[in-house]
Amino acid sequence: MTSATQPGEVLNDVALWLRMYTNMVAVRLFETQVNELYTRALMPGLAHLYIGEEAVAVGVCEALERSDYITSTHRGHGHCLAKGASPDRMFAELLGKEAGYCKGKGGSMHIADPATGNLGANAIVCGSAGIATGAAFSAKHLGTGRVSVCFFGEGALGQGILYEVMNLAELFKLPVIYVCENNLYTEYTHYSETTAGDILSRATAFGLLAATVDGQDVRAVYEAAHILIERARSGVGPGFLLCNTYRYHGHHVGDINREYYRSKKEEQRWKNERDPIANFAKWLMDQKVADKTKLDAIEAEFADEMRKAVEFAVAAPYPVHREVGEDVYA
């Protein structure tokens, strides 16, 4: 995504809306291909799909500059794409190919890309909270004006390091935003079974400015993120953004029979009533910003791009054997 827009400028808003719509569609189509790669047994290991949560990554990243930093999670494809990465090199990474963002060494859970400020996805729950805070430390110390965003699932609220770094961020007034994606489940357990008290208070207790937002509404996400990010950029201090959302698929692509931890009805309700893309499409049409033809064209264009990107990745070669011993030390 490119530079952030000032809210309130109508023309820009239209461009912004269409960009966010496009990006959400791109994420969903990307993930659909990932699922297919898995089903076709072309993918080594597993992957955690972001389908259903697109508005969070897209809304937040739209409020960031390209040079701003993000850290991401095991469910990280959406963050990565929304921050500007290319699908072809991402697919290549998912398949362990040399052309991937990490030469195939990282895989789905570790995609990183300095060009778009992506400090990396992390397979340790809450593992990147320190890193995101440290990037904000550098930004402040070096005076770059950058902001850092730490994406994490609500499961990460269980990890003590989150509270350690929120305390540090507030003490040092660091430009970092902690974005909690509450999709209701940590693997196979409802978050209410593992999360006592009140989530937002866990951030405000440390002095952070915190807000809750409907994570299925990309405009709401963008606006809240924009405020927290620009506040942080101006040096006031860190923020915390709780986005209520839902993952449509399993914890990972192999998690097919889910009824022991959540009902099909619940899943259906979110898909039918709260889909971030469908609802935003309807809104865009209501506002006469775009008609169905236009939106369909966007989808068709990206469906094609994703197919091509997958083909590229499937055809791409694996790293040569000697690569295994390289990049251990810089």
Binding site: G96, K103, K105, G158, Q159, T194, E323, V324
Partner: protein, 333 residues
């Protein structure tokens, strides 16, 4: 459902053996309880614990938040005060988060208190690569715990051993860390019904041989046995010794075997450097000093973070083929 093998013995998978050990101990002793992430309804991502919630209920099979340090610490305190908790750390890579509770607390409390308190707890966790899970879900970090006095460290390599060792670990009065190879959960083997234990501190000769000793742990035992079969084809008779527990360590069995064969390879899936292979090789090099015909060869994981890409990942771990070749070279063939 248990199957029966050709010899008429009941067979269980490694995962079933673990579950049976837990279920039997929980029936026997009401103070045994299980805690960890997704252990209850889900029965862990590997389904190792399926069914335990149904039998023992939510009070004894407890889903925790993603707080490895926190619930490990909780288990330490519970163990001191009358419970026998079995803590589940989903991937061995996450023991990083528990080191303070395990090393500065669990391991030391008995000693620091002059014997006043004890900490009878078990931590179950995993090791092993080649699941395409990349650098943070593939490590075999058991050497760290072996380095720490006050802890015991167990690495079963068969369903039989898994059941017997886990029962012994649960009954032990000390903190025990129990490492399970993820790739082995579906391995089948004979497992007697009912109660038996395998003592901590007794190695097992998994295959008798004359020409070379392969000392192997956990995942590497099957690799060693496979290599031994290949070696047999070229006329080399390999003995496979499984220490089963790395602490306490049955030095004697290792040394006797190496003395007998005069050659040894040590195999462990942890990093080769500053790890288990170093200790075992050093023990053998010293104990069998005057009998060895060649230096003890060490084979562990390559000194790199585990890569995701399949061809790269496969290159990081010893295989039947690489062990076969190393053994052949060592035997001068």
């Amino acid at each position: 459902m248990p199957e029966t093998n050709a010899a008429g013995q009941r067979e269980l998978t490694f995962a079933q053996a673990i579950r049976e050990a837990l279920a039997e101990e929980m029936r026997r002793d009401k103070t045994v309880c299980i805690m960890g992430e997704d252990v209850a309804e889900a029965g862990t991502p590997f389904k190792v614990l399926s069914g335990l919630l149904e039998e023992f209920g939510k009070e004894r099979v407890l889903d925790t938040p993603i707080s490895e340090a926190g619930f490990t610490g909780l288990a330490v305190g519970a163990a001191m005060t009358g419970m026998r908790p079995v803590v589940d750390i989903m991937f061995g890579d996450f023991i990083t988060l528990t080191m303070d509770q395990m090393v500065n607390q669990a391991a030391k409390i008995h000693y620091m208190s002059g014997g006043a308190w004890k900490v009878p707890m078990v931590m179950r966790t995993t090791l092993g690569a080649t699941r395409r899970s990349a650098a943070q879900h593939s490590q075999s970090l058991h050497a760290w715990f072996c380095h720490v006095p006050g802890l015991k460290v167990v690495l079963p390599s068969t369903p039989y051993d898994a059941k017997g060792l886990l029962k012994a670990a649960i009954r032990d009065e000390n903190p025990v860390v129990f490492f399970e190879d993820k790739m082995m959960y579906k391995l089948k083997g004979a497992v007697p019904e009912g109660d038996y234990t395998v003592p901590l501190g007794a190695a097992d000769v998994k295959r008798v041989g004359e020409d070379i000793t392969l000392v192997a742990t956990s995942s590497m035992v099957q690799v060693a046995l496979g290599a031994a079969t290949l070696l047999e084809e070229i006329g080399i008779s390999a003995e496979v010794v499984d220490p089963r527990t790395l602490w306490p360590l049955d030095e004697k069995t290792l040394i006797e075997s190496a003395k007998k064969t005069s050659r040894a390879i040590v195999l462990d899936e942890g990093y080769e450097r500053y790890g288990v292979t170093a200790e075992l090789a050093s023990v053998i090099a010293t104990g069998a000093f005057y009998d060895l015909d060649a230096p003890v060869k060490r084979m562990g994981a390559m000194h790199v973070p585990i890569p995701f890409s399949p061809p790269l990942e496969d290159a990081t771990v010893p295989t039947e083929q690489t062990v076969f070749e190393a053994a052949r070279t060592l035997c001068g063939r």
